[in-house]
Amino acid sequence: MKLSTYNFLTSMAIKGVKVGYPLKLTINKKEVVETEFNATFVERLLPKLDWSAIYSAAQVVELTDDIPAVQPENIAENEQLMQKLHHLLFEIDVLDGQLECPETGRVFPITDGIPNMLLNEDEV
């Protein structure tokens, strides 16, 4: 699972959960896969992304030197930051770890890079 996908995932499907965002990410194993940098796509994606979740993901993978805590203005003009964002969002692949619901503490395991979002019958 890439960290861009992490930015979109919520645990809203659990019964009784109102926001369920952002999930708490724990990484046991990850790998870096190089992908092509597409500046316009990252720029278009920015309004959909939640900066606090980007920052918390950066904290987990220890890239806080590259990513500021508050979203700076005019990111699109900052080529260097865009490249770092691209690296964080699309090049880090979480192979093993877990996602935790902030409200119920329900844990969704990530195995072989696939997050398991299946719920039990009593959680729906």
Partner: protein
Amino acid sequence: MSRRPEHSAPPEIFYNEDEAKKYSQNSRIIEIQVEMAERALELLALPDDDETRLILDIGCGSGLSGSVLEDADHMWIGVDISKAMLDIAVEREVAGDVILGDMGEGMPFKPGTFDGAISISALQWLCNADKTSHNPHKRLLKFFTTLFSCLTRTARAVFQFYPENSDQIEMVTSQAMKAGFYGGLVVDYPNSTKAKKYYLVLMTGGAAPLPQALGSAEEERRVNYIKKRDACREARGKAPKKSRDWILAKKERRRRQGLETRPDTKYTARKRSGRF
């Protein structure tokens, strides 16, 4: 014994390692899946500006439909309930991310995430109740409402599916409309048994005309049978009904039977003027 896979087992059990293997090896299955994914992408009607978009693939399986999206330079995220199928997707090293999830439990995404959604041969699985806790109507509604929220307001969602009967089509479309979607069904090749394909095209941002289905005749070709029927009657020696000859023959018969009959005049069987 029914041949529909939904009747044999729930999807997470039906799509086991053996079945999943077919989706990476059987060239016929691959060809059909890719063809349907291409058509779904066409029906998605994304703006033609060569920009990369984020697409949701529901029931992505081994990522065959995802590969079609990759070829069109789009990013995608897939959801499927079968771990065996997703393992094949990871093995194939598809570019999109895949998530293990159940459609009927809702889409686990933040509002306004995707620029579009496609789904190939998955929706019919939601029409069945595989567990006692499952209610197809409720699961469909939950699926459509969560899908509606995770799409942008100009997005479309295209579902290729195999409805079992008209009740299922009605159930699926009514739940989609209840969730706030506009749109309807596009049936490609409606006159063919094999090539006939159902696509449910849903729109989030207001009603727009549905795309034209493939293989449906543009104008209705109707043969004029009435003319042929009259010709047949004449050939048998009988005058066409309501004609002057037919009325004269009828009156003649009544006279022979001794019944009261008006005389034949130039007004007999004369057409009334249009003003009447």
